[in-house]
Every structure is written in C-alpha cells, then in structure tokens.
Amino acid sequence: MAAAWLFLSVGPGLEVALPQGAVHRLVHRDDPEFKSLLPESLDLAAALGSAPDPTLPGILVRLASGAIWRAGDATLHRSDEALRYIALSPDLFALQPPWCRGILEGGGRWAYVVDEEALRRAAP
C-alpha cells in the first residue's frame, strides 16, 4: 500500500497500525511531558484485552484528533516494506462498529489497522 503507517507494539505478538497522517506527536518515556500526559492516555493493551509487554520502553502517541494512546513502542513504516492490506468483515468482531478494519501483512509483519473512534468507544 502507498499509505505511510505508524506501527505500535502493544503486547506480546500484538501490533496495531494507524496512518501516519493521524499522528500528531510521539512522546517517549524519558520526555518530561510523558508523566503529565500519562493520566489522560488510553492504554492500548488494556483496551485490546492484551497483557502489556514489560520489555518494551513505553510511549505515548498524541493523535491529530487530540486523543493520547499508550503503547509499548512505535516504529515507522519503511518505504521498502511491501505490505498487503487484508480487509476484515465486521461480523468477525464482538463489538460493533469493530475497532479494527483490516490487517497489514508482509515481510513477517501482521498489524491490525485501528479504527480510532470505534476503539475509543469500545475502551473500558
């Protein structure tokens, strides 16, 4: 796909993707702002029912929408990384609308493409 993606490691073996255009800023754990933004962040691992990966450094993602997500790590889509988008039918999910639209797959990567609004609504 031509779109550029940001990949967020959430838990063991669990990675999600969102378009880079939806991302305003990344805040690393050692950034002074990290602690002040932490309370208003959405814990992606908890929202997806996954155990957080303690080996990952921890990062906050401020989205263009104003929402802040907490993940284990973030990596950018490399231009040489060929990815295939696989659409997923909504009836594969427990909650509607589903939090995920499809999968980005290729080169050993398997990342769930997030529907930001649906995920926020579904989050505990």
Binding site: L48, I86, S89, D91, L92, A94, W99, C100
Partner: protein, 135 residues
C-alpha cells in the same frame, strides 16, 4: 475415497464426530495455530490469511472441550465466506442414509449418520453460518 463433492467429510471436533458436506471443503491442512484477534466474536479462535484472503478459525473448543489438540484444519466455504474448522482424523465417506438430529440439543444439525461404527452428526453449514452471524 469418494471425491470431495460426492461425500461427507467426517472430522473429530473436540469430543464430537461431525460430518461436513464434501462440496463445501476447499482444503484440509496440517494444524497451524491461527493468530489471535483481540475483540473477536466469541466463536472466533483467530485468523490466518493466504493470498490476501482472511481465514477465520472456529475456536478449538467450539464443539466442546477435548484433551486432544487439533491435528488439521478444514477450510470450508459457504458462498464466498470461508471458515476454518479445527479437528482430527479427517476422512471422506460416501453418502449414507441419514437419521434425525443428534440428541445433543440445539445445534446446526442436518441429521445423523453412521460411519466407521460411530454416530456422526451432520452439520448444516447454512445454519452454522447463521449461528455464527456470518453473512
């Protein structure tokens, strides 16, 4: 062994022995654990994909608990929708006289038949897909 489109695929699924219409069987493959999908529908055990097509897997305990792990998965198709069913000991049998539904209660049953000295519950795929909410 009868051709797939002229028989019934018998498969041990958890504690039960089930029969699936042969014409719906696309592939039988050695078991490979699917990738988990967070927030999945309760029946969904995970996903694999091939050539850009997702393969949704029934949970391994969908038909009941069993100490034996799956050995294969059978890829079924109803219309254009695929469904991978985990199981063991697959074999094809020719159509045989069918009896009424099994006494296990509600389920997507089309009837029962005898195969290899076992009672086989025949699965009505249309009913199964409706039960899962697959359209």
């Amino acid at each position: 062994m009868p051709p797939l489109d002229q028989g019934t695929l018998v498969l041990a699924c958890g504690p039960r022995v089930l029969g699936f219409p042969g014409e719906a069987v696309r592939e039988i493959r050695t078991w490979q654990a699917p990738r988990p999908l967070p927030g999945a529908a309760p029946w969904l055990g995970g996903l694999l994909s091939e050539d850009g097509v997702p393969w949704p897997f029934l949970r391994t305990n969908f038909w009941g608990e069993s100490p034996k792990p799956p050995e294969v998965f059978v890829l079924l198709a109803w219309g254009e929708r695929l469904l991978a069913v985990p199981g063991r000991d697959p074999w094809m049998v020719r159509p045989t006289p069918q009896a009424g539904p099994p006494e296990w209660g509600d389920g997507p049953w089309a009837g029962t038949m005898e195969a290899g000295g076992m009672k086989v519950a025949l699965v009505d795929l249309r009913q199964l897909y409706l039960m899962l909410g697959l359209h």
